[in-house]
Amino acid sequence: MTIVTPPKKKLRVATTSLAGCFGCHMSLLDIDERLVELLQYIEFDASPLTDLKTPGPCDLGLVEGGLCNAENVHVLRHMRARCRILVALGACAITGGLPAQRNHLDIRDCLQTVYLTGVGVNRGFIPNDPELPLPLDKVHPLHDVVKVDYFLPGCPPPAEAIWQLLTDLVAGRTPQLGHGLIHYD
């Protein structure tokens, strides 16, 4: 057991997924029944797991996914402003990840492939409603836009690594990932 001291005040944690796949959130849940123990030490603010839509002041922010549109940038800046410690969680947050495979492509070509000439598309056109956020021409990692305090690699980071990071932070230690916890697949 890594956590020994009883909590005085729970760490308040916000999480979000930007241009990611939620796999990092799944890896967080892959701590399995230790979630019950973790909840003695942390409480969730805004997160896809709760119905709080925007974060209040938080101790920790976990951000999955890179930046692919203006809304991602807005959400990230808001997270940075509200979180004392910000963690780039997983490959996409750190490098842009697989979605950054589009970075060498021409956007008009992509649009036409999907909405105009794709298999089975009937009378295609390109969606253009103002409710749809402005895409960026390239997918960016988080640290292109805000200061990031910790980078946790992996696609997704293993549950053990997330557990180690959280329990170290709860205990007031600088996170140290031991053997086998840092990998990139």
Binding site: L49, K53, G97, F125, P156
Partner: protein
């Protein structure tokens, strides 16, 4: 009746947004346009993200594809992994996999069904059903369930864990593994792995049965709400086994109309593009599929557990089949269209997945050594699988240099696009018109969306346009200027 898809005149209407839709996977938002008396004029579920998989897969070697495309979704990566592998089986000429490969893949897939269904019910949706749609949002989450119903929440956590462990054993990793390859699998199951999974099965089966009972009881206690909430009639579509039984890994496409009459049956995967067409709307990156034979207006349909359970003739495992019969007998065999019945169907499938896993773990073929097969190369492959959320279609064209030249994906959530939009409009009609908009009322909209278990990351694989729109609002929120530049005039 007002369709609520598009307000006749937006002047003077107030925009209310649910952003982001929470306790679902991926990025979506709902916008409502209301007048001064809180009457609803327009309701839309927007899919607001784009990623571009269909385009950037082009030019990649085909053998990379099952590992790349599973990154569409971290909740159901196995579904994309296997749909791609199935499509590429055809490309490498593997018309019939080895028994070991087929059964290891099935084990992986039913592990995926089990963990995804558990996640969706226990972690994401159960707070609405246990606490009420307009309960305190601070309680309305899995932590609230852990506090109020600790045993139930722990069962959910352990059910999900079991499914994830089945995936880890067969794919190497819980999320984004590498088990399936074109033509087969890259590892079988060891006796030690099998025995470890077997040890958990009695608990898993018991909890799965308790889950079915819980949802059936919720329906019985609140049947007026559960049968009516967000209900919209539509066609239904799914794979069924060649014998008509429920099969989530392989089969042929069958569709029924809203009354249950079979419209099409026995459609092979490769013929999917004759069956389904897709429309585009300006306000969502998610397309709107429909059955071509019926046209866009009448041809849209539902997919997923509720469709599958009513489309198949039988479930080939005893406990889930008994549960299916109870489900169907309650309404005299009529087709149920109520979104909240998805939860019931989903938990029956969770039980079925546990039974299938039990059977596969008893089968010595999963320990075999013949892992792959090949045959004459082909240039085209279509793989269809029933993902946790519904029918998932992957289609690839591959050239003589082994590079992908074309990729088309129709993901489960996309099939339900029209149905989800119609469901939230129905909720808006019934609950909103004229009432003051509160957080609890807005959550009603999300409850209807959640019932479909949308995977909005999956649905945003397509690369959208750059809607170069700048809007200027005055202090009262009224639009005073708007500039639009469309994609054709990009610099």
């Amino acid at each position: 009746m007002n369709t609520l898809e598009k307000a006749e005149n937006t002047t003077g209407l107030r925009r209310v947004a649910i952003e982001p839709v929470s306790r679902v996977e991926g990025h979506g938002k709902v916008t409502l346009l209301l007048d001064d008396e809180n009457r609803v004029h327009q309701v839309r579920l927007h899919i607001v993200e784009f990623r571009g998989f269909e385009r950037f897969i082009q030019g990649r070697p085909y053998w990379e594809v099952p590992v790349m495309v599973q990154r569409l979704c971290g909740i159901c990566p196995v579904s994309h992994h296997l749909a791609a592998a199935k499509a590429l089986d055809a490309v490498v000429g593997a018309h019939r996999l080895t028994r070991t490969a087929e059964k290891v893949r099935r084990l992986m897939h039913y592990g995926q069904i089990l963990q995804s269904h558990a996640l969706h019910f226990y972690h994401l949706s159960s707070p609405d059903l246990l606490f009420g749609f307009d309960a305190d949002p601070a309680q309305r989450n899995v932590v609230g369930v852990l506090q109020a119903h600790p045993d139930l929440a722990k069962q959910g956590i352990l059910l999900r864990k079991f499914g994830q462990e089945v995936i880890r054993v067969t794919a190497g990793k819980r999320v984004h593994g590498t088990g399936a390859i074109p033509g087969g699998v890259n590892k079988a199951v060891t006796e030690g792995e099998r025995d470890a999974l077997r040890a958990d099965l009695p608990d898993v089966l018991r909890w799965a049965e308790q889950g079915v009972t819980l949802v059936a009881d919720l329906h019985a206690r609140n049947h007026v709400v559960y049968d009516r909430f967000g209900t919209v009639r539509s066609n239904i579509l799914s794979l069924v086994g060649r014998d008509g039984a429920l099969d989530l890994y392989d089969g042929v496409l069958r569709a029924r109309d809203a009354d249950g009459t079979i419209i099409v049956d026995g459609v092979e995967a490769a013929a999917y593009s004759d069956l389904i067409r897709e429309n585009v709307r300006s306000w969502s990156y998610m397309k709107f599929p429909y059955l071509q034979s019926l046209g866009a207006e009448h041809g849209w349909y539902k997919v997923g557990p509720l469709a599958r359970l009513q489309n198949c003739d039988v479930i080939p495992t005893p406990r889930a089949e008994a549960a299916r019969q109870a489900f169907r007998e309650r309404v005299g065999g009529a087709i149920v269209h109520a979104p909240l019945a998805f939860h019931w169907a989903r938990l029956i499938e969770l039980l079925h997945a546990a039974e299938v896993i039990e059977g596969l773990l008893d089968d010595p073929d999963i320990l075999g050594t013949a892992l792959t097969t090949t045959g004459p190369r082909r240039t085209s492959g279509v793989g269809i699988i029933e993902a946790p959320r519904g029918t998932l279609i992957h289609h690839y064209e591959v050239d003589a240099q082994d590079l992908v030249t074309q990729c088309n994906l129709i993901v489960s959530t996309t099939h339900n696009n029209q149905a989800m939009n119609e469901a939230i409009r129905e909720v808006a009609r019934e609950y909103f018109d004229g009432r003051a908009v509160t957080e609890g009322l807005l959550n009603h909209i999300e409850v209807a969306i959640r019932a479909y278990d949308p995977c909005l990351s999956c649905a945003t694989h397509a690369l959208g346009k750059m809607p170069l729109v700048v809007e200027l609002y005055d202090a009262r929120g009224e639009l005073i200027d708007r500039r639009v530049r469309d994609a054709e005039h990009l610099p």
